[in-house]
Amino acid sequence: MGQATTDDDFTIAGKSFQSRLLLGTGGISNLDILESVIKVAGPSLVTVAMRRVSPDQQSSFFQIIERQNVPILPNTAGCFTASEAVLTAKMAREALSTDWIKLEVIADEQSLLPDPFELLKAAEELVDDGFRVLAYTNDDPVLASRLEGVGCSAVMPLGAPIGTGLGILNPYNIELIVANSGVPVILDAGIGTPSDAVQALELGCDAVLVATAITRAQNPVGMAEAFSLGVRSGVAAFRAGRVPKLNNALASSPMEGRLEISHSPHQQKS
């Protein structure tokens, strides 16, 4: 696993968290629902995007987030270059008084996939500037390792492109990232349903970030509860050590001591 933990807690940049669920707030249809979702999900961190304000809209979202008493993790969603991401991160720090940043630098608006080059450059700059960088990355084990190398506090590989709900397309790579990582691994993007999140934790990820799968579910609050239970299940499963996969059947009831049917001679006479 990405890092040693005690009990159910895990640690990012020296700070301990209990829930293995990070919540993305995008995609919600209404803020009242968001409030309930946060309460039910009980996430360790709640992500927010930084966007231009206009007078009318500026207050309600932030007020709701603030009164949940959940640490806020601003992101740099929508940035295409290192310089955009770095400035966005700095404005987030100023706005929210946090030096934690979920770093997202995407290559294009269609795939929303990370740009490895701009991402690494931004990560390096932000780490140098004192940020705690949680880097949204693709599932390339080499890039994850480079991001750790420049000082990121966590790597956040995708399971599948943002918003697709396709689950973990390449579990092999996620396992490789986990095996080689010295920082927490948080599966981000692609999760469509709680079993995906459970699988991520079973593969050894330290946590998952879920947005769309909760916020756009038919019943977001019910789905928040499902994920909340799911991440607890997944981390417990990882710790308890699953059975090996076997190619041949193995009886779970003893094959010895089964009854034998022998019809008696008395019956046969009749």
Partner: protein, 71 residues
Amino acid sequence: MKGSSLCVLVNGRSTPFTTGETVADLMSRLGLGAKGTAVAQNAEVLPRSMWHSSMLRGDDVFEVLAPQAGG
């Protein structure tokens, strides 16, 4: 240059300002600046503590951002 002819760009929109106006004045005038708001002046973050002392200059480019649902 007359003050009346000067403009700054705020979130991509041109806004006239009067000579001597500070960033704090601008935010107040536009109804922005609630808690959780950050300002960048010409691609550099301007801490809230400096809004009162920062004078607007013609062609200044401001980005005013705040957290929104996302990610």
